[in-house]
């Protein structure tokens, strides 16, 4: 590859993959052999052979809850030129959305990805709308080439935490 665009994360932002609550992650209309883990999980997402693919049509609805409240600054979405996503709508703190009501709500942010973005350039979001995010819903409406299947190789969420208590880390105080 000639020039790999390095995804330089903005200052003081962290990769939020560590704060994803994997037990609640859902993806509607994903193909069983190419599931969301391929695009989201550490290790899988860097493997170019693995990608997330849609099944019945080109739309995808991804629901990602977090273990603590976060602020979302930017996202990086990598995908192939033709089948990579084009219109992506993000919803903060909306649980259990379906395709039927995906267009009923106003998205917290709506981005149109360019081929540049698909190579790995981060897309800055409306930071003010994502100040205390417990869960994120990503709705991929269509893809670059208008194909029947959308493919995504990598999804990276960049932001900061709001230092809420992670209940799992709470330990009992020792009796002395």
């Amino acid at each position: 590859m000639a020039s790999v665009v390095s995804a330089a994360m903005p200052r003081s932002q962290v990769d939020l993959v560590d704060f994803v609550d994997w037990s609640g992650v859902e993806c509607l209309n994903q193909s069983t052999s190419h599931s969301l883990d391929n695009a989201l999980k550490q290790g899988y997402r860097d493997d170019d052979g693995l990608h997330l693919e849609s099944d019945a049509d080109e739309q995808l609805l991804i629901y990602i809850p977090f273990t603590q409240v976060i602020k979302l600054h930017s996202v990086i979405i990598k995908g192939p030129e033709e089948e990579g996503p084009k219109t992506v709508k993000l919803f903060a703190n909306k649980e259990h959305m379906g395709f039927s009501n995906a267009n009923d709500y106003v998205p917290s942010d709506s981005i149109a990805l360019s081929p540049e973005n698909l190579k790995g350039t981060p897309v800055n979001l409306k930071y003010v709308k994502f100040q205390s995010v417990r869960s994120l819903t990503i709705f991929i409406e269509d893809n670059q080439g208008g194909n029947d299947i959308s493919k995504i190789q990598k999804i990276v969420l960049c932001g900061t935490t709001v230092d809420t208590t992670n209940m799992k880390d709470l330990k009992k105080i020792e009796e002395h």
Binding site: N29, T32, D55, A56, D57, H96, G98, F99
Partner: protein, 407 residues
Amino acid sequence: MVLEATMICIDNSEWMRNGDYSPTRFQAQADAVNLICGAKTQSNPENTVGVLTMAGKGVRVLVTPTSDLGKILACMHGLEIGGEMNLTAGIQVAQLALKHRQNKKQQQRIIVFAGSPIKYDKKTLEAIGRKLKKNSVSLDIVDFGESDDGKPEKLEALLAAVNNNDSSHIVHVPPGPNALSDVLISTPVFTGDGDGGSGFAAAAAAAAAGGLSGFDFGVDPNIDPELALALRVSMEEERARQEAAAKKAAEDAAKQEKGGEQASSSHDATMAEPNSSSVPAVDDKRHNLTDDEAALLEQALAMSMDDPKSTNVAVADTDMSEATADDHELALALQMSVQDNAKDSPTQSEMSKVLEDQSFVSSILNSLPGVDPNDPSVKDLLASLQGQSESQQKQNEDKQEMRRISK
């Protein structure tokens, strides 16, 4: 035990008056619905089931998904037959009802009873199927009643569009003497995917299958579980006793032959015991007494009536035989030392008589793990056994005869 919310779509159109399923198509359908509701709620107490009718004045939801079985059964009363079935609207309403289920963690499933002819074309059905798949809703189709040309194909096309990872199923039920519910019990509609389904479904299946065909002692475990259990336990105890005796005989034979091999055959016997105790089909085990075991059993019985000298030797040798499980040279040495001690033992002749039987010995060797019959040391041993047994055979044959007659 999948956590599931199910919507059952009932066909209450005019076609359900027909009597080709007893007593009427509608009644057979209602029975099937009752059974399905019971099975679903039993397999997981948090499962919910809802019912809607597709024909009549229009699609009407009788009860939204609930785990209260009484409510579901109550709403099945007083249903009227009439009108035409609206499959697409029925499925869409079912999907909507599932979308608004209270527990969002439940998987969504729709069960459709398609009894009347389908007036929609394949394309429409496929579009609906894709929409269901997109929203991860599984669909079970019960194709019964009218079978005009194209209906099975249309329904198969619908299934193909919905099916994701074999979670959706279709069942074609032709008219006949069997009740609709009986046919359904054995299908994945009842038993669920993979995990084998609930005990309810299995028990219902057993009762429906009827008669003594599946049962071990002519006792239906469902009608009289305690009796069936008692019979099974006593059978297993008897077999365990016999196997212990056989095992003892096998261990005695070991002191003549390689100690290791017999230890593993006794291990086989002990392993067979827990295996067999877990298998409910005890009848089959009865007939599994092979010739080998029969021969060993005879020896055991003969030996138990023998003088105590042989049994002492046997006890002493049991420990050693286990120790030499994997060491052929050590087994050889052990055997030779044992042979010196027990030369005059009458049991030896019986053992050797058995061991002479080349086919028996090689069949034992073949069945034992870790023993290669082509191993030179094994072959040497067999040869030496043959030579030794022949010399003693004549002497001891008469002794045996006399002993057997006197018992």
